[in-house]
Each structure stands twice: as C-alpha cells, then as structure tokens.
Symmetry: C2
Subunit: 226 residues, 2 copies
DNA sequence: CAATTAATCAACTAATATATTGATTACTTG
DNA sequence: CAAGTAATCAATATATTAGTTGATTAATTG
C-alpha cells in the first residue's frame, strides 16, 4: 500500500519529530533553559524547575532519549548537561519565535513587571556598549556554578541569595548592571529591586549569557577544576 | 501555594511549548518542510504529505494556532504559507540536530539509497563551486511553483513529472546537477536515476534552496505575478 | 439557484503523555 | 556491611493528541 518513498519520508520525519516531542513540554523547556546556563544534578534541576525528583528524572530521560542532553554519574550524583551547543540555539530560536509571533508572551511579561517600573533598560544598545567598555560594574547574580560555566568578562559574582550580606562589595556610587539567565529569569529583577531599595544605582540587563554569546559578545569561562 | 515567580515562569514556558507542540508531529514537520519551499493550498499539501484532506487541514490549523504559518482564502482555495523565515530556520536547526545526534537518520538514509550508488556527490565543495560558477547545467526538478518561489540562479526548471518528455531540453554532453527540496526529498534522486539511464552525465545536489540560502548562496525569486 | 468543489467542523476511537506515588537500585560512608 | 542518599523504575489516574468518518460551510459556476 505504501510506496518506498513514503516509507522513507515517514521514517525521516519521525526522527525529526523526536526532537520536536522533546521540546514540546513546558517543563522540559525550562530544564533545557537551565542546562543552557550550566550542567547540574537531577536534584538541583528538580528544585530550580519546581518538579518532584521523580518527575524531573523522567523529563531528563526524555531529553536524553532525544539526545539533546547527556548524563554521567559522578559518585552519588548524576550530572546532566547539554549534548551540544546547537541545543541552546534551538531553544533560542523557539524563544525568539514565541516572542515575535505569540502576543501572549509580551502580555505575560508586562503583567509580571507591572508596578516594578524601570526594569527595562531605557537604551539597550548604549547599556551594552558601557558593559563592553567596562564603564559600569557588571553584577552576575546567578549561582556560582553558572557564573563559572560562563560569564561577562570582568563581571562580579554575587548570587542573589548572598546579595544582602555582600552589599559592601559593591561600589556605592557607580552604576551597577545586574544580569542573570535571561529575559525570563527573575534573579536580576529581584536583585535590582533590592539594590535600588538600598540606595544603589542599579539597572537590569535582560540578556543572558547565551543571548550575548549569540550576539558575538565575549564570554569568560572558568578553567574546569580537576 | 505557588509564588508569583513560579506562576510567571510556568506561563512563559507554556507559551514556548506552544511552538514545541506544533513541531512535535512528523506530519506537521513534513508540512512545514513543504511550506519552506513555497506556499500552497490545503489540497496540494495534503497530497504531497499523504494526508487526508481533513487531517491535513487539522494539522495546518495547529500550526496556525502556534503562529508558525498563516493562511488566507483566495476564492475557493485557502493558501497556507510560513509566517516567518525564522520558522524555516527552526526546522533546519531541528533537522541538523536530528542529523548530528540521532544515528537512526543516517541509517534510514543509507538504507534508502542502498543499491543506488553514486547518489552522494563525491566532492560537495567542488560541486557547489561549479554550480556557483555556472560551469554545469543546474536542473531544478521541483514543481514550477516551488521553482518560482526561489531557485538557484540560472537553473533550468523541469519538474520531475515532465522530465521524460523534455529530455531534449538538456545538453547531452555537459554535466547536469539536479536538485530538489533537500536531502530528504526524493525528486532529484529519481531524476538522476532516469537521466543516467538515458545516458546523461547527471549528479545530485543534496542541498535544498533553504540550505543554500543559509549558506549564503544567492537565490533567484520570480517577481510575484499579480 | 442547484450543483460542484475546497476546506473546516464535530464526534469518536485508539494511542500517548504527564504527574504522582511508592518501591527499588546503586553508590558512599561510617 | 548497615544506613543514608540520589536517582530511577513501575504502576496508576488523568489529560491530550492523531487519525477517521461523515456532516457542514463558503465560494464558484453553469
């Protein structure tokens, strides 16, 4: 009934769909987004994405079956990481399409930032220029492991959780540009809120490391500790 | 129970997953692949992808709901087209990931081309160079509408269906490079088989228009007829 | 304005996917 | 080698999806 060409095509598109199925669940996309920042254990990934351990494990196995992530066991822990930088590009392409084509994304973002005025840097190009020139203090508020996996050159690493205790490490007068995982990560939003509250001149950089990398920005990667 | 950050993230990733869900079905990917070549009616898309009309219509509506495609009615026909060139890039990124990460793709391809030796151009770079220089006859064997929507500069358009009747349009001595929709389209495979059978010196170019476009190749687009 | 055609809709079945729970495996450490 | 921990597995309930069939809508044409 089916001719050989049709069998061939069905088989090929079925393979392509394995990739699509892997990225068809919100939670798996969140996991991928996290893994774009740095490799992590199942437990940490589960916590970050508000999943139960078993559920996170299952989602990660789906991603692994589609070869989008890899895992290896180190002692008691299983470390998951992206299989390929292309996976990160896939995620970014999907994100860009959602941003440009789905009006809901903009709505959700606006609603969330409602009442937190000035979270959008007024002049993004100028801000990026100053960041590149080092004319401002750049603050990375992600967990240290993510900072180590890749950060803006010269950026200061103070994870949000420690920020309140380490305010003295920050310049009281200079402008502070805080960034985190990207436009949908709330760490930098909370950091800027706190810093402004304490009298600092802080602004938020929406872009995450992967966005900057894609824009040709240089990225500093820590030497991998033995 | 859920904090506002979690609600925000869930809402955002749910939107991203709309894109993922749209590309999680083999048939929808096939439809997108076809639409990367040119816009078409539901009927034609259904036929090309071996779907029933109703089923094709439903899949296209899913793609439309995810804003990956657009449709407008022209008289009795509804014409579907890609909403954005980025959709084509999304498809290509998925295809590249599948090719590089899923061993099955290579297997399926090998099995299909088994017994049809020499379907892989020996020296791809050199071949592309000669195509670019016009040192060979470039033959586009896709339907005319697809040729019109974008083709290699100077390429001759002879749809596969007409090829047997139009052999006299081809140079008997010069090398002929046939191409179609891309590596998983069988039109050029069939064309090259037939041409070799008839004594022509024919080779197959695996890349499709979108691949060449992504590689920086110039593409000729026919003026849109009123 | 009846017949034709293209596309969609509606209802249904079969197949898959998700999240939860509790049990199990695998490794580490005292 | 027993206890503790990280991760996976297995079983289940629920929800979602794909494909089929037949009916319906909308535009076109004689």
């Amino acid at each position: 009934m089916k001719n050989p060409n049709r069998i061939f095509k069905d088989a090929i598109y079925e393979q392509f769909a394995r990739i699509g199925k892997a990225v068809s669940s919100p939670k798996r996309l969140e996991l991928l987004d996290l893994l774009c920042q740095a490799e992590r254990t199942v437990e940490v990934l589960a916590k970050e994405s508000s999943l139960t351990l078993a559920n996170a494990s299952q989602h990660l196995q789906v991603l692994r079956a589609a070869r989008l992530v890899e895992a290896d066991k180190q002692g008691l822990f299983v470390i998951y990481r992206l299989a390929d930088q292309t996976v990160c590009e896939l995620f970014r392409t999907m994100r860009m399409l959602a941003e440009s084509r789905l009006a809901e994304v903009e709505q959700i973002k606006r609603r969330f930032l409602e009442g937190r005025e000035g979270m959008e840097p007024v002049d993004r190009e100028a801000l990026l220029g100053r960041v590149r020139e080092g004319a401002v203090t750049v603050l990375d508020v992600r967990p240290v492991e993510e900072y180590n996996a890749g950060h803006i050159p010269g950026a200061l690493s103070i994870p949000l959780k420690e920020l309140e205790l380490r305010l003295s490490d920050l310049p009281p007068d200079q402008e502070i540009v805080a960034y985190c995982r990207g436009p949908y990560c709330v760490l930098s939003v909370q950091a800027v809120e706190m810093l402004r509250d304490k009298g600092f001149h802080a602004v938020r950089l929406e872009e995450g490391i992967q966005d900057l990398r894609a824009m040709g920005f240089p990225i500093t990667v820590e030497e991998r500790a033995k």
